[in-house]
């Protein structure tokens, strides 16, 4: 029998080394440095993720107000920066002074790891009252009492409806009404194929994720103990049953076929813009897309419907948004704080940015600014955003993994009918999510 020689083992090791990621080998992070006072002459680096020309210009316009107010601080802005780039810069000890992230779900990690600085002492010192932000916004910018970010614009979700396809019906206010109207407005061809869907409930329909739709049932994502709450909160079962009932009415295979042919979310082929669906839940940004890509579309917006038992809560919805903070190791932390404070609380700056980007300004005062120049349909999102019943999904130390796991379950097991017993399936999902949370130190 042939034996394996050391030379061959060495060759195998060298070959297999190609497959070994070096992701696990990076070094440590930087250190906090008091740096100069905000009044000193200095230059601060600001990183954000916007990349389109109109977005970059909008940000620059918003920053110009700060430049006038603080002529001693030169602001250098760099766009198109991702969370990975920010994290690498912090770990390399050369972070920018201010960072903005679109991934609100990463806030738990930013706060827990200390990658982003705790802002509470600075907020107190500057006398910033957090109540200038709606409750939901206060929630998604903190993790377990540690506030390491402030909101910079927000997304709010609402119901879009195509007035022509609605055939004179008023937008639904409850999920039962939504299901009934969806059936009524659906048009099929002679073979039973969907030509126009009243409302496509599947989680595979772009923004109809559990995160956005289950909110209408008043779900509580995590328990007070920080653990998964899927099996303990009956609202999840209610959501699942509603979703499956309507999907089965379309027929799972037919709904899948329809979704394969309906176009892309962020292109002119978007099915709502093309009149392939009568109603859809979407973010406020869709108004800008419609303005640009389907200017002739006659549409309206309304708050998302709520479950029948929560009819009194109608008007609220789901919100999440861009977060801004000061990374660990910032060399000009005081000036950086002045910048963060200005951009996230100054009405003029927020309105400038909201007008340019088509997002919801994130303070209550900015919501009622007469300078907001947004389409008439946008008013719904401003109202949803400030509604006391509007909620968000809490941060977790593992990047909101519980949301991904729920969506995966609905998409891969629940919708195709592989999971028949929701109670049992949700219990198993809880266990899975809790194990992952524990691994991440949650």
């Amino acid at each position: 029998m042939r034996t394996t020689t050391p030379r061959r083992i060495a060759a195998a090791i060298a070959a297999a080394a190609l497959g070994l990621t070096s992701a696990c080998t990076a070094g440590g992070g930087g250190s906090d440095d008091g740096g100069p006072k905000a009044e000193d002459k200095q230059t601060i680096q600001v990183w954000h993720g916007w990349s389109a020309d109109h977005e970059v210009k909008g940000f620059e316009d918003a920053v110009n107000g700060f430049r006038k107010l603080h002529p001693n601080i030169t602001v250098k802005v760099t766009g198109n920066q991702t969370d990975d780039q920010i994290t690498n810069a912090i770990r390399g000890g050369t972070p920018p002074d201010v960072v903005a992230s679109f991934t609100t779900d990463n806030l738990g990690q930013f706060c827990q790891s200390g990658a982003w600085q705790e802002l509470t002492p600075r907020l107190k010192k500057s006398g910033v009252d957090l109540n200038i932000f709606p409750k939901a916004v206060q929630d998604y910018t903190q993790f377990r009492g540690k506030r390491c970010a402030l909101p910079l614009l927000a997304d709010a979700y609402g119901l879009y409806f195509n007035k022509k396809l609605m055939k004179g019906n008023a937008p639904p206010k409850t999920m039962s009404e939504l299901a009934a109207l969806a059936k009524k407005l659906t048009v099929r061809d002679r073979d039973g194929r969907i030509k126009v869907a009243g409302f496509m409930p599947s989680v595979q329909y772009y923004e109809h994720t559990p995160q956005h739709i289950a909110t209408s049932f008043g779900v509580k994502w995590l328990g007070a103990d920080g653990k998964a709450n899927f099996s303990r909160d009956p609202a999840f079962t209610e959501y699942l049953k509603w979703e499956k009932d309507l999907l089965d009415w379309y027929g799972y295979d037919e709904a899948k076929r329809f979704m394969r042919t309906m176009g892309q979310e962020f292109e002119a082929s978007n099915p709502f813009q093309k009149g392939k669906v009568a109603m859809a839940v979407d973010g406020e940004w869709r108004t800008k897309f419609i303005e640009k890509e389907a200017p002739g579309l006659d549409y309206g917006t309304a708050p998302p419907p709520v479950s029948d038992a929560r009819a009194a809560q109608y008007g609220g919805g789901f919100t999440l948004g861009t977060i801004m903070g000061i990374p660990r190791g910032s060399k000009h932390a005081d000036a950086a704080w002045e910048f963060v404070r200005y951009l996230t609380t100054d009405t003029g700056s927020l309105v400038t940015l909201a007008n340019a980007l088509g997002n919801v300004p994130s303070t209550l005062q900015a919501l009622s600014s007469p300078d907001l120049r947004l389409p008439a349909q946008f008013g719904t999102f401003l109202n949803v955003f400030k509604h006391p019943g509007t909620t968000t999904s809490p941060s977790s130390p593992n990047g909101g993994d519980y949301l991904v796991q729920l969506q995966k379950f609905v998409q891969d097991e629940w919708e195709p009918g592989k999971a028949q017993d929701p109670a049992r399936a949700l219990k198993a999902l809880d266990e899975k999510v809790d194990k992952a949370l524990k691994l991440a130190g949650g």
Binding site: T4, A16, S22, A23, D84, Q211, P416
Partner: protein, 344 residues
């Protein structure tokens, strides 16, 4: 006396001593002097060899030795990229509870077992065809190689669109001739075969090295075999295959390693087929449809960079390393056995 001469003389002396035949001037004092010079020369020679090897050794230490040791070290910690906490075997225990990791491993092994042999066979088949072409060899060589040059993301996006049963031309053409077409990237049963098809389409890399190997087989061997009355299959089986077996081994080993790292195409195919936008800040479920395109490296990335479990991601990296090494050893052994068998 030069170092080399001294080394040679000392070596001769040592060999004589080992044989026990003494020699002129071979007293104890003289032997001690010779061996001292010999030791110095040997040391100098070793240093010279080391100096020549040092660029590789430094590279190996920096880009393999250190990463490997660091990966092992981090695998015993909870590491979120900023804070490090020793957790013993927790990450290893979690591996056995992580259904997604095993699911991703099964998908990856499927791709290795199906895609690698198919690509080698297909590449070899095209190489054989090209060697027998009388005219237009250069044109066909380019035609078969070109798809490999298409960036993987573009190629995958195009593949998913072309094979989309709702909007793609393939379904339309198949309909015209009455051929049923599977729903390639939307059915869990067909998504991996779809990726294998994509791999076959871009087989240019394997084809080109096998073509070079086939063209390098000495002609006189074929001529001799023909004189002996060997038919085409016998010439291929007993001349071509044994001669190109080191290149086949290379293609297979690198193919296995590449497929174990399969990431881009699987991720892009899953996202495009699901209609998911890759907007910053959005959370997407990897592996659409039904987790069928979730590969092991995707899960490793997900754990490390989405869930910030770097310690556990290191465990997954070590598993991938172990599997790659195992495959490499087995393949090298098989090819060695084949070559030796042919030689004997």
């Amino acid at each position: 006396m030069t170092g080399l001469a001294a080394w040679t003389a000392a070596g001769r002396e040592r060999r004589r001593g080992e044989r026990g035949d003494g020699g002129p001037g071979g007293g104890p004092g003289a032997r001690g002097g010779w061996s001292a010079i010999g030791a110095r020369a040997r040391r100098r020679r070793r240093l010279r060899v080391l100096a020549f090897l040092s660029p590789w050794l430094i590279g190996f230490a920096m880009f393999f030795g250190y990463p490997l040791l660091a990966t092992v070290y981090f695998s015993f910690t909870r590491y979120d990229l900023f804070n490090l906490e020793y957790v013993g075997l927790t990450n290893y225990r979690f591996l056995f509870q992580d259904e997604d990791a095993w699911h991703a491993m099964r998908n990856t092994l499927w791709l290795v077992a199906v895609t690698v042999p198919l690509r080698v066979l297909f590449g070899l088949g095209i190489a054989q065809l090209l060697t027998h072409l009388k005219r237009g060899g250069a044109v066909f060589r380019s035609v078969f190689y070109l798809p490999y040059l298409v960036p993987p993301v573009s190629a995958t996006v195009a593949f998913v669109f072309v094979l989309n049963p709702g909007t793609g031309p393939v379904e339309h053409l198949a309909d015209m001739v009455g051929l049923p077409m599977p729903d390639w990237f939307n059915e869990p049963e067909w998504s991996k075969p779809g990726l294998a098809l994509l791999g076959l389409w871009a087989v240019g890399d394997v084809m080109i090295i096998l073509l070079a190997a086939v063209l390098d087989v000495p002609k006189h061997l074929y001529e001799a075999a023909e004189i002996d009355g060997a038919n085409g299959w016998q010439r291929f089986r007993h001349i071509t295959l044994p001669t190109i077996s080191p290149v086949l081994a290379f293609a297979a080993v690198t193919g296995v390693i590449q497929t174990l790292q399969y990431f881009t195409q699987a991720m892009v195919a899953g996202k495009v087929a699901a209609g998911q936008s890759d907007q910053p800040g959005t959370q997407t479920v990897p592996g659409y449809p039904g987790g069928s395109t979730l590969t092991f490296p995707q899960w490793l990335y997900d754990e490390g960079f989405r869930q910030f479990n770097m310690g556990y991601a290191c465990v997954l990296a070590l598993v991938m390393f172990g599997v790659a090494m195992l495959f490499t050893l087995v393949l090298l052994r098989q090819f060695r056995a084949f070559t030796d068998g042919e030689a004997s």
